[in-house]
Structures are given as structure tokens and as C-alpha cells.
């Protein structure tokens, strides 16, 4: 529950160690590198953008080679592989793998060129096939498709774009040119879209014949060849076969490299790391023999880092505690609260002067999530799934691990609230025993009988609603107290009274006063003695006066009063904030009732073999569905209560994220100290 002290780090070292130092820093991943602002006659900066671009190009090439390889070779990938994370590599293993990188790079380019050839050949085959298709109507013709002539006759080959039979064609020609007689024609093929003909005509009439044909829609074939269609088709088929063989050869070239996938992936990581390293060089200032780099590191890691740099590379390291708006923020929390850090950071990192809200938020986060999901069975499933996943997959990415740990604790809380409200997969136990054993379920506290009360029966909903509001008020007050703490830490303790104590008095007083009236007492189920009306009234009055006269920071007393009155009007927002916590009840009921719906649906067929099978099926599918949709709802609305109601009271945020220079790869994680 704290923001770590950051230190400015300056590293001075000899140029000959530069590469190694950069590699070490990258593997350690504890320093955020900033630009050094020295540039004079001695110090200069290097431009490495060309190198970066070239390494990124190589990385892209290797990546596409690995993608090609995985399309031709089916690698087994387990469903849970996304949980596995990056494979850890020690420094030694890493250097061993980098030894043969030129070979692997060559293989990558070979794979790419094979793939290119496959694509080219496929395109050729498509072209051949379309020619084959165009030729297929002509396949019965055994002379070349050229206009050829003998001494007295000329052949005409072509087609009409419609279905014609011999008789109609002759009739049409006769209509167009009645005198034309010295010709003969034959229909080679005919389908719905075209009719192909072969005709012979006496040389002296050929002009008239051609023009007559054109008038009725004759077109010459789009291709000519010295081969007859039959032969041409045969040749095309041969060509396609040859190309197919080529494709097979290239594919087998590629699949022959099936063991190289890991090496290719490693190489991609290698180039990405290298490009990242060169990107850092832009931030360094060089002199002819030395270089300077600067950045931020947490105080926690700084000693180790400076010792290592001094011992290994004779580097001079300066450390200095810093505070300021530009300094990045790193949070540190214990095992229980750390998992929700991600939620805080997804809103905004706290700025350096305010308190880290993670710890307090974590408690409310787990409680609220549990109340909205509130089913012992679902909580059990969730906690077990997350817990086992974290235990089994040791190399899981940190971010994912944190989320799963968060959902583990949310699951535990869900389990707890499920027992409180007596919901275990809805009313599964009761339904099963009633349907299949014909008896009422025994009383098992937490599973068939609520430990606290059943929120779906009788006065249950109102009771839970009141409890939700109570939690909401506590949550809001916690926010106000955190703001007060922030004020006091910055020495503005009067503001804490004006802005925070005042509201606590006003809202708290109003609650006391309302609880001593008849109206609310009937809902709450108890009534405070009338004296609380006075106590609450006085508290609220003091609070209101403080807000009216002191909450505005204006020098002009008139303006101050008006602003104060406006602030006092903000009491309506407290009303809506508190009402907003009714979602704890509504979403909790939603989970429970939908679970009951599925149980009831499952039990409809009754006690028979089919009934049992149907029940199991509906039970599994229905509850999986319910877990999915309601866990999403609980997650989103827990976040909302934190971000809007809670953070709205005190949180400023706007801190700068800590982005350490680290190994930013996809497949392998190279660590300095394994």
C-alpha cells in the first residue's frame, strides 16, 4: 500500500562496455531510461534509426517465416497455451542460441522464398485452369483453332453467345443473306451460354459469309493456337501437373524445416530485443571513450543494480532520491492487495503526492465482487480454476498472473457470500434431492440453508438492500477519509475538516436521523430511539454549516458563500452515489435467480434416465453460461463502484507509469539472474 521511492540513476562507463551494459539492463528490466541532455563539443549522440529499422525488418521476416511454417506444419497447441507464458532462458542458453543465428536467418529467407514460389505456381495453375475452362467447349474439335484455307475453301471457327441448334442457325443465316449457299457448318458444342461452331465456306463467298455471321452475333475465339483444342487441353493438363509437382517440392522444402519453429521464434525475439537495445542508444550521450546514460529506478533495486554495474563493468553509478510530477510511479503491495493494482493502474497511476489506494480498495473490491456474484458453487469453481492455473503455469506473464490472483480472491469472497445467502449453484442440492431422491434436502448450513438470510424470500431483498447501502456509505466514507489523509500529509489539515469531516457529519447525521423515523425503520427492520433524531440533526447541521461557509476557497466572502451553497447542493450526488450500491443486491439476485431457473429447467423432465442426462446437460451448460455472464457483470460493476463512487471522492491520479527498459519479447524471457 505504498508508492515506492524512486531514484534518479546516472551511469558513466567506458564505451567498450556499452553493449554489455545495455544487455544487462535489458535483462534486469528495472530501469526506465531517459534521454541525456548533454550535447557539446565532447559529447555527441548516435543515430541508430537505420539499425533499428534493419533489425525490425529481420524480425518481421522471421515472424512471417514462422507463420508460413505453422500453416504447412500442424503444431499441437493446447487450449491453455495462452496461460503458459514465455519460456525462461538463462543468459548462457541465450548466448548458445544466438551462435547460429545466421543459419536460422538463412532458413527463414528460404522458407519465405519457397512460399513465394508456391504462390506464383498457384497463380499459374489458376491461369491454366481458366484457359482449360475456355477450351473445354472445343474439346471435340480435332483441327487447330485457326482460320485456315485450302485452295477452294476456308474454315471458320467461332461461337455465338446463346444456345442455338443446327436448324435455327441455318435459318438465321438464310434470313440475313438469302443467297448464301456454298457453305457447311457443324455445331461443336452447345450449352445455355454459348454455341461453338466449325464452318467451311467456298473462298469466293468467304467475305459475305463472315459478315452474315457477324450480323447474327458470331464472335471469333479469344485464343489461337497451332494445336488442336484436344492437344492444347492435354498440354495444359501437363503444365498444371508440372506446376503441382513444383508446389509439392516447395512444400516439402518448408515442412523439412518443421523442427526450426522454436529457433525461428527465438530469432524473432532476438531481433526485437536488439532493435529495442538500439532504440535506447538514442538516449545515451557518447564521448570518444565514455558514455553517460540516465533514468529512473526504484530504491528497492538501485543498490543491486549499481553494485552489479560497478563490479562487472567498472561503471560509475550516481543515485539520488527524487520526487516530482515527472517521476514515474511504482506501487508496492502485499500478496492480498497486490492483484488489484492492475485495476488501479487501468484507471490511472496515483500521482506522487497522494496515497496509494490499492490496499483499501482491494478489501472493498473483493467484498463487492463476492456480493454481486454470491454463489458458493461459482465461487468455488472460480477460486479453484484460478488457483490451479497460477500453480501449474509457473512462467505465466505477470499481468495475467495478477488478474488470476485477483479472481482467486474474488472467488473466495464469492464462496463466502454464497454460504451467507445459502446459494450453491442456485438451489441445486434441493432440486436434485427433490427430483431424483423424492425427499427434501437435509439442512446443510451455507449450502441448503443460508447462514445469514435468504435474499430472495420475504423481507430478504429489503434487508440486503439496506446492507448494500450501509456498505456503500462505508465505502464512500473510506474515500473521504483517504482524501483527508492526503490533505493531512500535505499539511492542509483544515481542508480535511472542511471537505471531508463535514461530509461525514452531514451524511452520517442524516442517516441517523432517518433511521429514527418511522418511514425508514420499517424498511431497515429496526428503529433508533428518538434521541438519535436530535443527535443526527445536530451532526448534519454542523456538517452543512462547515460546507456552506468553509468548503469554498474563495477570498471574497460573498462568492465564497455562493460557492459553498453550490457545494452543499452536492448532497444530491451523495444520494445517487449511495443508491448506486443497490446494484450489489440486484446483481446478486440476478446470479441466484438465473441459477435457479436453470436448475428448474433441468429438473423438468423428471426422475428417469433421460431426465438425469438432460439435467446434467442443462446444469453444465446453464451454469457455465451463468458464470460467464454474471462474472462479467460483477467485474464490470465492481470496477464501476470503485472508479466512479469511490475514486470520485478523493482520487486524483495522473501519475506517470513506470515503463522499464526490459525484455519485451513474445516467446522467450531472458533473465539476468536465473
Amino acid at each position: 500500500m505504498a508508492i515506492l521511492q524512486m531514484q534518479r540513476i546516472n551511469i558513466y562507463a567506458l564505451n567498450k562496455h556499452c553493449k554489455e551494459i545495455l544487455e544487462t539492463l535489458q535483462r534486469m528490466g528495472v530501469m526506465q531510461v531517459e534521454q541525456v541532455d548533454i550535447e557539446d563539443s565532447v559529447f555527441y549522440r548516435e543515430d541508430t534509426s537505420a539499425f533499428q529499422a534493419s533489425y525490425r525488418r529481420s524480425a518481421a521476416a522471421v515472424k512471417s517465416a514462422s507463420e508460413i511454417l505453422s500453416t504447412y506444419v500442424k503444431y499441437k497447441k493446447s487450449l491453455l497455451s495462452s496461460l503458459e507464458g514465455r519460456k525462461p532462458l538463462s543468459k548462457e542458453e541465450y548466448y548458445k542460441l544466438t551462435d547460429n543465428y545466421t543459419e536460422v536467418l538463412k532458413i527463414a529467407y528460404d522458407i519465405i522464398s519457397d512460399n513465394k514460389k508456391i504462390i506464383e505456381n498457384k497463380a499459374k495453375i489458376v491461369a491454366y485452369e481458366s484457359r482449360l475452362e475456355a477450351l473445354s467447349p472445343w474439346q471435340n474439335l480435332d483441327v487447330p483453332m485457326l482460320q485456315s484455307a485450302t485452295k477452294t475453301t476456308t474454315s471458320v471457327i467461332g461461337s455465338f453467345q446463346e444456345k442455338l441448334d443446327y436448324e435455327t442457325l441455318r435459318l438465321r443465316i438464310a434470313e440475313t443473306d438469302p443467297d448464301l449457299e456454298l457453305f457447311d457448318l457443324e455445331i461443336v458444342s452447345s450449352d445455355d451460354n454459348q454455341t461453338c461452331i466449325f464452318a467451311v465456306c467456298m473462298n469466293k463467298d468467304i467475305e459475305r459469309f463472315n459478315s452474315a455471321l457477324r450480323k447474327i452475333g458470331f464472335i471469333l475465339p479469344a485464343f489461337d493456337s497451332k494445336l488442336s483444342p484436344q492437344e492444347a487441353i492435354k498440354e495444359l493438363k501437363n503444365k498444371i501437373e508440372r506446376r503441382e509437382k513444383l508446389i509439392e517440392e516447395h512444400i516439402s522444402n518448408i515442412t523439412a524445416q518443421k523442427d526450426m519453429l522454436d529457433s525461428l521464434n527465438f530469432l524473432e525475439d532476438y531481433f526485437v530485443m536488439k532493435s529495442d537495445r538500439y532504440a535506447q542508444i538514442d538516449n545515451i550521450s557518447y564521448s570518444p571513450h565514455t558514455f553517460v546514460m540516465t533514468g529512473y529506478v526504484t530504491k528497492r533495486d538501485s543498490e543491486k543494480l549499481s553494485k552489479l554495474l560497478l563490479e562487472k563493468y567498472d561503471a560509475e553509478v550516481e543515485l539520488e532520491d527524487v520526487d516530482g510530477d515527472d517521476v514515474p510511479v511504482v506501487l508496492s503491495n502485499n500478496k492480498f492487495t497486490e492483484p488489484v493494482e492492475g485495476v488501479v493502474l487501468s484507471y490511472s497511476a496515483p500521482h506522487r503526492k497522494e496515497i496509494d489506494p490499492t490496499g483499501i480498495m482491494a478489501v472493498f473490491y473483493y467484498i463487492f465482487f463476492g456480493m454481486m456474484f454470491s454463489d458458493a458453487g461459482y465461487g468455488l469453481v472460480m477460486a479453484l480454476a484460478c488457483g490451479i492455473a497460477v500453480k501449474v503455469f509457473k512462467n505465466m506473464e505477470q499481468g495475467l498472473k495478477k488478474s488470476l490472483k485477483m479472481f482467486f480472491w474474488c472467488g473466495v469472497s464469492t464462496f463466502f457470500w454464497g454460504l451467507m445467502f445459502g446459494s450453491f449453484f442456485g438451489d441445486a442440492v434441493q432440486v436434485i434431492s427433490r427430483t431424483f431422491f423424492g425427499a427434501e434436502a437435509p439442512v446443510i448450513y451455507g449450502i441448503t440453508t443460508p447462514i445469514w438470510f435468504n435474499p430472495t424470500e420475504g423481507a430478504g431483498p429489503t434487508k440486503l438492500l439496506m446492507f448494500s447501502f450501509l456498505l456503500g456509505i462505508i465505502h464512500l466514507f473510506a474515500g473521504l477519509i483517504l482524501q483527508a489523509v492526503n490533505y493531512v500529509r500535505n499539511g492542509k489539515w483544515l481542508y480535511a475538516i472542511y471537505d471531508d469531516v463535514s461530509w461525514i457529519l452531514l451524511v452520517g447525521g442524516a442517516v441517523f436521523a432517518l433511521l429514527s423515523t418511522e418511514m425508514l425503520a420499517s424498511m431497515a427492520g429496526f428503529q433508533l430511539p428518538p434521541v438519535w433524531l436530535t443527535i443526527g440533526g445536530i451532526m448534519a447541521l454542523v456538517g452543512a454549516v462547515l460546507i456552506l461557509f468553509c468548503s469554498a476557497r474563495n477570498k471574497n466572502p460573498f462568492k465564497r458563500l455562493i460557492k459553498g451553497a453550490y457545494n452543499l447542493y452536492g448532497v444530491t450526488s451523495y444520494l445517487s452515489d449511495i443508491l448506486s450500491y443497490s446494484r450489489l443486491l440486484a446483481l446478486g439476485l440476478a446470479t441466484g435467480v438465473v441459477a435457479q431457473v436453470f436448475n428448474q429447467l433441468g429438473a423438468m423432465i423428471g426422475n428417469s434416465f433421460v431426465g438425469v442426462v438432460a439435467f446434467v446437460l442443462i446444469f453444465v451448460v446453464g451454469h457455465v453460461l451463468n458464470i460467464g455472464i454474471n462474472a462479467l457483470g460483477a467485474y464490470v460493476h465492481t470496477n464501476r463502484l470503485q472508479f466512479v463512487e469511490f475514486f470520485g471522492k478523493f482520487y486524483e491520479g495522473g501519475g506517470r507509469d513506470f515503463k522499464p527498459y526490459a525484455v519485451n519479447t513474445k516467446y522467450y524471457n531472458i533473465k539476468e539472474d536465473i
Binding site: V343, S346, L585, L589, V593, I629, V636, N639, R640, V644
Partner: protein, 159 residues
């Protein structure tokens, strides 16, 4: 016209109006999600979550309908005759989630579409993209709450 008919009419309203809203909302978001997936298949889980946000109204409608059917004895234990007045009360109790569900799901769908666009450009802003549609859902939740409380209250009335 019997009381039972009115009550079931209410349950029907709750289911189909909230269901229509959710279908429209999820449908809109789904179109946007599929568009993003064409470019960035790795964002599947994120856009799926955003896409599913407007689905809850349909479930709230189902829930209220179920509670109503249970209260009038259509499912579960029979409760005897439902008077016309009681049936009309059930119908009225179903209306909040019917209308709120319909409208809020449609508008939540629009916010989800916008959120999906945000995530497609900045996947790390998922947290914020998720909160904006959730704001709209608040009103469906409030309506759900009133519907549930009303049904629960009507059950014990002796009219």
C-alpha cells in the same frame, strides 16, 4: 380477462422488450467486434467482453419474468387464483425492466461499439472502455431492482 393473463402479459413484456433491446445492442456491438477482429484477431477476448455488456438486460428481463411466473404459480408451487387487481399489479411491476431494459440495452450497445473502437486502437485502455457502457447499465439495474422489489411486495398482498 383473468389476473393470470395480466401477470403473464407482464412477464412477456419483461422478456421480449428487454430481449429486443439486448439483441439490438449486442448486434450492433457484434458488427463492430467482427470488424476489429478482421484486423486484430488477438483482441478477441477483449472485444467479446465489450460486446457482451448489453446482453445483461435480456437476462434481467428473463429474471423478472421468471420471478413473476413463480409468483403466480405457473412454475413451481401453485398459489391458487390470481385476482384481476393482483395480475394488473404484476403487469405494472414488470414494466420498469421492460422499458428500461429496451432503451438502455440499445444505448449501451452504442457505447460498446465506441468502446470496441477504443480498444482496437489502444488495447491497454480496456478498463476505461469497459466503464463507459457500464454507466448506461446502471439504469437497467435500478429498474431491475424496482421490478424485483415490487414483485416481492405484491406476492404478500392479499387482494
Amino acid at each position: 380477462m383473468s389476473g393470470l393473463f395480466l401477470a403473464i402479459l407482464g412477464a412477456a413484456f419483461a422478456t421480449f422488450m428487454a430481449g429486443i433491446g439486448s439483441s439490438i445492442g449486442v448486434g450492433k456491438a457484434g458488427v463492430a467486434a467482427a470488424g476489429v477482429l478482421a484486423e486484430e484477431p488477438s483482441l478477441f477476448s477483449k472485444v467479446l467482453i465489450l460486446m457482451l455488456l448489453p446482453a445483461t438486460q435480456g437476462i434481467y428481463g428473463l429474471l423478472v419474468a421468471f420471478l413473476t411466473l413463480q409468483a403466480v404459480g405457473v412454475i413451481g408451487d401453485p398459489v391458487g387464483d390470481i385476482s384481476v387487481a393482483k395480475g394488473a399489479l404484476y403487469l405494472a411491476a414488470c414494466l420498469p425492466i421492460a422499458f428500461s431494459g429496451l432503451m438502455s440495452a440499445i444505448h449501451q450497445g452504442k457505447c460498446s461499439v465506441a468502446g470496441i473502437n477504443t480498444v482496437s486502437k489502444k488495447p491497454d485502455q480496456m478498463g476505461k472502455a469497459l466503464i463507459i457502457p457500464a454507466m448506461v447499465e446502471t439504469y437497467a439495474i435500478l429498474a431491475l431492482l424496482i421490478s424485483i422489489l415490487a414483485i416481492n411486495g405484491i406476492k404478500v398482498l392479499s387482494i
